[in-house]
């Protein structure tokens, strides 16, 4: 049972200065120099995805492709009331239907919670439209669908509140037993000295920005297949960002050990922060499978997908920037009211991260984030790609571009004068061992032709600049943040990498193959991968907080190095040198000083096994950040967006975007560009298009046709600039490019639109009708107000 926590009390914390176990001050510059000068062969090549041919030819397996003998189909009965008592659920007609095998309600799942406060199946009361109130399993989909239609539910409607501001009123109905006043959490984070920062400012800018509900819109809808036919083994097939986390949660919920749970995630069709947590349907499939002793599959069809997703919600921000007359940015103050929906899960943590984010871009004195998470009768919310950082960055970057204009400075000059740099310790306590932020700013300025455009554009044309930074992994979810890997070298020299990191489209499996290939002197195409199954791969915390390349990449590097060392020992003996004199390159093992003295890589692996020792080469490795919690490496980026606005229709066209991203080292430049493309796409989509329109808690556009996400036709011209600062902690110097760019994209587009219409854009998405409203209210298109 979740503990009932009192709402209403404000937790005021002075944050900052993490307590690292290691000294994160600047590492030895010589080490960094050596990293930079490294001779690389596999890394840096434009490597097409290794699973590309399999994916485009439709041969990759996804969860819905899996059919197990005796499999049943589960279907969930969802509440159609935003708030109501459930008086009676009568399934007699459904159960009389031939082929119906099981029926469950909240009575069958009392102790099973999908999240701290969210029951897997709600009992007695329903808190939002779409909430799970019963489920059935039947022999086929048609029967399951028919059976659901035959269940009679008697509701007694309760007053509902779907607007986060109204939910805070004293007269508002109480939505769940855990949160007084419908406040899930209220924190005030102080970083540095915000009061002093505002004291020292000459100018204070204040603006309001609201964001609206979204969907993560991954291409693979939510689906789960559970086989719990035997009581001591639960196998779950489902797309996820983390098999490990799912194992943990399920073992906790059902009293099994971790090893009794197997998560098979095969390929994951996109995530965009939407697949980190278990959802009710995962638990429901397990409950149905336990009850029927048969495998049960549940697929979210149509609008159901919009109810099971946990994406962005309604958030209202007030942002204040403190700045001096000569453009020194002193600090920020943010107030945020954020809609958790009906059940709080993780939003408070996400908002803390967003505050953190804004604290490390500039050399500011202080930042305060007053953040309140509110319970409403809406779908529970988590976040879309870019987290809560996108909305905040949209507000702050607009504000800073406008502030620069007002004090008569070029925004890029102002950013350069205030930007964080290598060796800088921010007010949160992170020290940047590598930081190419200024280089990014200079490069986007030059490549975009900023100097010829800024302030010189015709009416309704806009240009804007934004910057950002992203943690490459954040330790904190568990005591450890471990990724482990194994590298097997067969006697024919074929290398197999075992990794638990899910590839959900970001291409991480190819990245891991490249790292393995680099260490062993092979080609990425030579590496085979075993992945996507907790039973056959070593532990990996998963693919979130941009820890893949950094953390799993380090583990893979260590595992491959272990394998390399084993081979090197034998090869060195054969070649009559010491192992440290060897180079692994072009599938050969060569004496560095005389590369003609060499042996084949396969030959060496064969020699290992067929030696006296009989060694079969298996390299092991794991990586866990030496910090107690927090982050060792951050990416940095700057972008310039150019837009045109149609003053009669309000339509915004993103014409060009120039992206510079400091990702430490580009393991695979092709994948880096792919990541940048994807994030520009999604950043543009979130800023200009995506919105779940709601009417008293009901989504009005729960389909891919009416939930407007742009298509490739809307993609702008993209200029890519890769900045390699070579981080001392990253594998071969690499950091992240998984979420860093999108936050900057949103900020840059927002700033450009605001520049085009000459006003602060107070809402996201900037749908044409909203743009038109702003134009009619205050803009004149001259680029200034």
């Amino acid at each position: 049972m979740p503990d009932s926590r009192k709402g209403g009390e404000i937790r005021q914390v002075s944050r900052g200065v993490t307590t690292p176990d290691v000294d994160t001050a600047m590492p030895d510059p010589e080490i960094q120099q050596r990293q930079k000068a490294m001779e690389l062969s596999a890394i840096g090549k434009r490597q097409p995805r290794l699973d590309g041919p399999e994916k485009v030819s439709g041969r990759s397996l996804f969860t819905d492709d899996v059919q197990l003998p005796g499999m049943l189909y589960g279907k969930i009965l969802r509440s159609r009331h935003a708030h109501a008592k459930i008086l009676k659920i009568d399934a007699s007609k459904a159960l009389a239907l031939p082929g119906v095998k099981a029926f469950i309600t909240g009575d069958d799942s009392e102790k099973v919670f999908a999240n701290q406060y969210e029951p897997a199946i709600s009992k007695g009361v329903t808190h939002y439209i779409g909430e799970e109130i019963a489920a059935i399993a039947a022999i086929d989909e048609v029967t399951a669908e028919q059976a659901i239609e035959l269940i009679d539910v008697e509701y007694e409607p309760l007053p509902a509140v779907t607007d986060l501001r109204k939910a805070l009123r004293p007269s508002a109905p109480r939505i769940n037993p855990y949160h007084d006043g419908n406040v899930a959490s209220h924190n005030i984070d102080n970083y540095g000295d915000p009061d002093q920062a505002f004291e020292e400012a000459d100018l204070i800018f204040e603006d309001k920005l609201a964001t609206h509900p979204t969907h993560n819109l991954y291409s693979e809808f939510h689906v789960v297949l559970v086989d719990w036919s035997f009581p001591d083994k639960l196998t779950m097939y489902t797309p996820t960002q983390s098999g490990y986390l799912f194992q943990k949660k399920l073992s906790e919920a059902f009293g099994l050990t971790d090893s009794q749970i197997r998560i098979v995630h095969l390929n994951t069709g996109g995530a965009f922060t939407g697949r980190g947590l278990l959802r009710p349907h995962h638990y429901i499939a397990a409950l149905l499978s336990r009850k029927t002793r048969r495998p049960v599959k549940i697929f979210s069809a149509g609008d159901e997908e919009f109810l099971t997703c946990r994406a962005g919600g309604d958030n209202d921000y007030v942002v204040r920037t403190a700045i001096t007359n000569d453009g020194v940015i002193k600090g920020f103050e943010i107030e945020g009211i954020m809609d958790c929906g009906a059940h709080a899960a993780g939003l408070s943590y996400l908002s803390a991260m967003a505050g953190n984010y804004q604290a490390r871009l500039f050399k500011i004195k202080g930042l305060r984030f007053n953040r309140k998470c509110v319970i409403t009768n809406q779908r529970p919310n988590f976040f879309h790609h870019g987290g809560m950082m996108t909305g905040l960055n949209a507000a702050i970057m607009q504000q800073l571009n406008r502030a620069a204009q007002q004090i008569g400075q070029d925004p890029i000059d102002m950013f350069l004068a205030n930007a964080a740099e290598q060796g800088f310790t921010d007010i949160v306590g992170g020290t940047f061992a590598s930081c190419g932020l200024k280089e990014c700013l200079e490069k986007v300025r030059d490549r975009s032709g900023w100097k010829n455009k800024y302030g010189k554009l015709p009416p309704y044309h806009g240009i804007g600049v934004a910057i950002g930074s992203m943690a490459s992994g954040v330790k904190g979810a568990f005591k450890h943040d471990t990724s482990a890997a194994m590298v097997k070298v067969a006697e024919d020299g074929i290398v197999t990498l075992y990794t638990g990191i899910p590839d959900m489209g970001q291409g991480t499996h190819t990245t891991m193959a490249i790292i393995t290939a680099e260490v062993l002197g092979c080609d990425a195409e030579d590496i085979r991968l075993v992945a996507g199954d907790t039973e056959t791969t070593p532990l990996d915390v998963g693919a979130f907080t941009q820890r893949g390349t950094f953390t799993t990449g380090n583990a893979v590097r260590i595992a491959a190095t272990d394998a390399r060392d084993q081979i090197a020992k034998v090869a060195a003996e054969r070649l009559g040198v010491t192992p440290d004199q060897l180079v692994f390159r072009d599938r050969k093992i060569m004496v560095n000083s005389d590369r003609n003295r060499n042996m084949g890589f396969g030959e060496a692996a064969y020699a290992c096994l067929h030696s006296r020792e009989g060694r079969f080469v298996m390299g092991n490795g794991f990586y866990n950040s030496p910090l107690k919690y927090g982050t060792l490496a951050w990416s940095f980026g700057a972008q310039v967006a150019e837009v045109t606005v149609d003053p009669e229709t309000g339509e915004v066209q993103l014409t060009r975007i120039t992206v510079a991203h400091d990702l430490g080292r580009a393991i695979n430049p092709l994948a880096v560009e792919g990541q940048i493309d994807g994030q520009i796409f999604s950043g543009m989509s979130q800023t200009l298009y995506e919105e779940c329109e709601t009417d008293n808690g009901q989504f009005l556009n729960p389909s891919r046709l009416e939930y407007k996400m742009p298509r490739t036709y809307e993609m702008p011209q993209v200029e890519y600039i890769i900045v390699e600062s070579v981080d001392p902690y990253g594998p071969f110097g690499a950091k992240e490019v998984g979420e860093g760019p999108i936050v900057v994209t949103v900020g840059a587009i927002a700033a450009a639109v605001s520049n085009a219409v000459g006003a602060f854009m107070p809402e996201i998405p900037m749908s044409p009708w909203r743009v038109l409203r702003v134009i009619h209210q205050n803009g004149d298109g001259s680029g200034s107000d």
Partner: protein, 326 residues
């Protein structure tokens, strides 16, 4: 979301098809490309007993030039084929534009002209799944007693006629050939639509639209559509504008707006202004200003009403300006 149970017939000739429709009566449903009707069945908006496919009726898949210069198009022609048809592209480029603006390439590969003309009206309430609809009371179209879009005493369904080609076809004075077993009638497409989201067309359950005939046209004609995204979306507003003459001079104007109401709208005031004053910039502005009034009640369906009115104005202004320069 699976299809409700039904019988599926695939008649091999027009006669056989008309008989099947007669037999099925009001429990029958014609399916052509299926890009709309199949989806509506999945939403359980319709539960027809008999689904009659016209995909084998090759006699409805021809494009012919008639002796009087008219073009006769079979209702079962695929939109992709029509979009690529050189005669249509050459003689009726605006119609061609309206075809290309429907949905996406994949959908046009399935969709037919007849299906586009007879497209069910759309509304966010009815075009959602049955489970979803249970969140609200049933509406007129779903056998209930209210309209969720406009709540008034008037018992009218306000679903929108969202199809693109009829807008161009009305401006072209096209005629529909409608057949049922043993009978045939011809109706100007301008008279085919009703101002009602449920009984939105003058077609009985046993009738089939077999052909569309377009008379020759030497006037200037433009079709234009405004949608949220390029190449997939239904229109927020669409327009067909036609006039004779050259440059600013004209004395015959017709303006048809689509997707803004339960039926395409003929803008008479705006047309009159241009007819009397010509295509001058002043007259165009003046004509555009009358649009709001001529629109009548605009719903919030799929876009805000105020915004849609603004789009209608912009469409009129831009197409008239374009006509002038044609």
């Amino acid at each position: 979301m699976l299809l409700p149970q039904h019988n599926y017939l695939q008649p091999a000739s027009l006669n056989e098809c008309l008989m099947a429709l007669q037999d099925a009566g009001e429990f029958g449903q014609i399916v052509a490309g299926g890009t709309d009707v199949i989806f509506n069945m999945r939403l359980k908006l319709f539960r027809p007993k008999t689904v009659v496919s016209i995909r084998r009726l090759t006699e409805l898949m021809q494009v012919e030039e008639l002796p009087d210069g008219s073009l006769r198009i079979g209702a079962a022609c695929r939109l992709t084929d029509l979009a690529e048809n050189p005669i249509i592209n050459d003689r009726f480029p605006a119609f061609s534009e309206s075809i290309r603006s429907v949905a996406s390439t994949h959908i046009r590969n399935m969709a037919t002209l007849g299906g586009n003309i007879c497209l069910q009206t759309r509304c966010w309430f009815t075009n959602n799944s049955q489970q979803w609809r249970q969140g609200k009371e049933s509406c007129f179209k779903t056998d209930g007693d209210i309209c969720h879009v406009i709540k008034s005493s008037e018992k009218k369904c306000h679903a929108i006629n969202n199809s693109d080609t009829p807008v161009a076809l009305i401006a072209l004075n096209a005629e529909l050939t409608i057949q049922k077993s043993g009978a045939k009638r011809v109706l100007p497409i301008a008279d085919f639509f009703n101002d009602d989201g449920i009984e939105f067309m003058k077609l009985c359950p046993d009738e089939l639209v077999t052909h569309v005939t377009i008379p020759p046209c030497n006037d200037r004609l433009i079709f234009s559509k405004y949608a949220a995204r390029k190449g997939i979306d239904f229109s927020i507003g669409s327009i067909a504008a036609r006039c004779n003459g050259e440059g600013e001079q004209t004395d015959k104007v017709s303006l048809i707006l689509g997707s803004l109401s339960t039926a395409p709208i003929k803008l008479t005031k705006a047309a009159e202004i241009i007819q009397t004053k010509g295509l001058t910039d002043g007259a165009i502005e003046q004509a555009a200003d009358t649009v709001r009034g001529d629109l009548g009640e605009v719903t919030n369906l799929y876009s805000r009403a105020v915004y849609k009115k603004q789009i209608a104005r912009v469409l009129v202004k831009r197409t008239l300006t374009h006509l002038k320069n044609m």
